[in-house]
């Protein structure tokens, strides 16, 4: 016959499994901080290195160099922090959550990588595509990601759409592409730099509570 203690034990099992299964933060909060700083630095470096009249191909390559460096820093940071987090919780690095996140992310990231390769010599539209595809990728994880990741995805998607409309109008009004990459770089700095920093600041206290009180506390945005 079931007793209160059996019921409590079963509820504990359910809670702990739900926590493991439902919450997967594909971008660790410290990574967002590192990535955000790298994004701001990349944007600043390109902005101050850019000269009016630069060849389109040269400025595209400079732009790609700055932002791919920021991407590598953020990716290496993310692997490091996710691995440390998994070790602290006594879980595997490649967990079911990570596999689910990768399955959700890879289609949009594959498209982004393909577009980057194809348009590496004329990168004016890459900022818009990157913002849209990154946002869509994050939204693909919303079934198991904390609410903060979903909000970040929406922020990128909306910013990408606004940037796309803005670049369309600017192209129609001005009729030339001078400075378009500079504006795109500014949008990248605001989103990949600024949005990640805002995300890190907002999600940090909650993420710390979950780590400290594992088993007791749940991510408030995702408690089942």
């Amino acid at each position: 016959m079931a007793t209160r203690s059996t019921a409590e034990e079963h509820l504990r099992i359910i809670r702990s499994l739900m926590e493991k299964a439902t919450i997967y933060r594909a971008i660790s909060v410290p990574t967002a901080l590192v990535g955000g700083c790298a994004g701001i630095l990349a944007a600043a470096f390109f902005h101050f290195s850019w000269r009016p009249g630069d060849y389109r191909q040269a400025e595209s390559h400079l732009f790609l160099g700055c932002w791919l460096t920021a991407l590598v820093i953020a990716a290496v940071g993310n692997i490091y922090f996710l691995r440390a987090d998994a070790r602290r919780r006594g879980e595997k690095f490649v967990s079911a959550g990570m596999r689910a996140a990768l399955r959700a992310l890879w289609p949009s990231y594959l498209v982004a990588a393909t577009l980057t390769i194809l348009w590496m010599d004329s990168a004016e539209l890459l900022p818009v595509w990157w913002m849209l595809l990154y946002g869509l990728g994050l939204l693909g994880t919303q079934h198991f990601a904390p609410r903060s990741i979903t909000l970040l995805g929406w922020a990128f998607l909306i910013a990408g759409l606004l940037a796309m409309i803005g670049s369309h109008w600017a192209g129609a009004l001005v009729g030339r592409e001078d400075g378009m990459l500079l504006a795109g770089n500014l949008a990248m700095g605001l989103t990949f730099g600024g949005f990640h920093l805002i995300y890190a600041v907002c999600a940090w206290p909650r993420a710390s509570r979950v780590v400290e009180g594992r088993g007791e506390a749940m991510d408030a945005g995702n408690a089942p």
Binding site: T3, R4, A96, H143
Partner: protein, 107 residues
């Protein structure tokens, strides 16, 4: 008096409870992911999944992508019964709290 017959015997077994919980948390799980998360042997997991499937709690999808893969998901019936099971557990815990109706719980 609490009626313990209300507790679903199929779900109440610990391993099956784990399976039902994971399936309730995400739309679908592959056999390998369930095995890794619950740390059950192949045989054990197959047996419990078969029980849940035969009782209509779990739907099975077999597909061949680059290799054969079996995925599991809760059926509507399974989800409903899991939620009922949860609310019964909560009632039991509530009854046992100080100021609750502990004396009425038959053991």
């Amino acid at each position: 008096m609490f009626d313990f017959d209300k507790l679903d015997k199929v779900i109440h077994e610990k391993s099956r409870l784990g399976i039902m919980t994971l399936l309730a948390a995400r739309p679908s799980w592959t056999f390998q992911d369930l095995k890794a998360e619950l740390e059950l042997s192949d045989g054990n997991l197959v047996t419990h999944l078969r029980t849940l499937h035969e009782n209509g709690y779990v739907a099975v999808t077999k597909e061949v992508l680059d290799r054969p893969q079996t995925s599991y998901a809760l059926t509507t019936k399974g989800r409903k019964l899991f939620q009922e099971y949860l609310s019964i557990l909560e009632q039991i815990v509530k009854l046992g709290r100080p100021g609750g109706e502990d004396d009425k719980v038959t053991r």
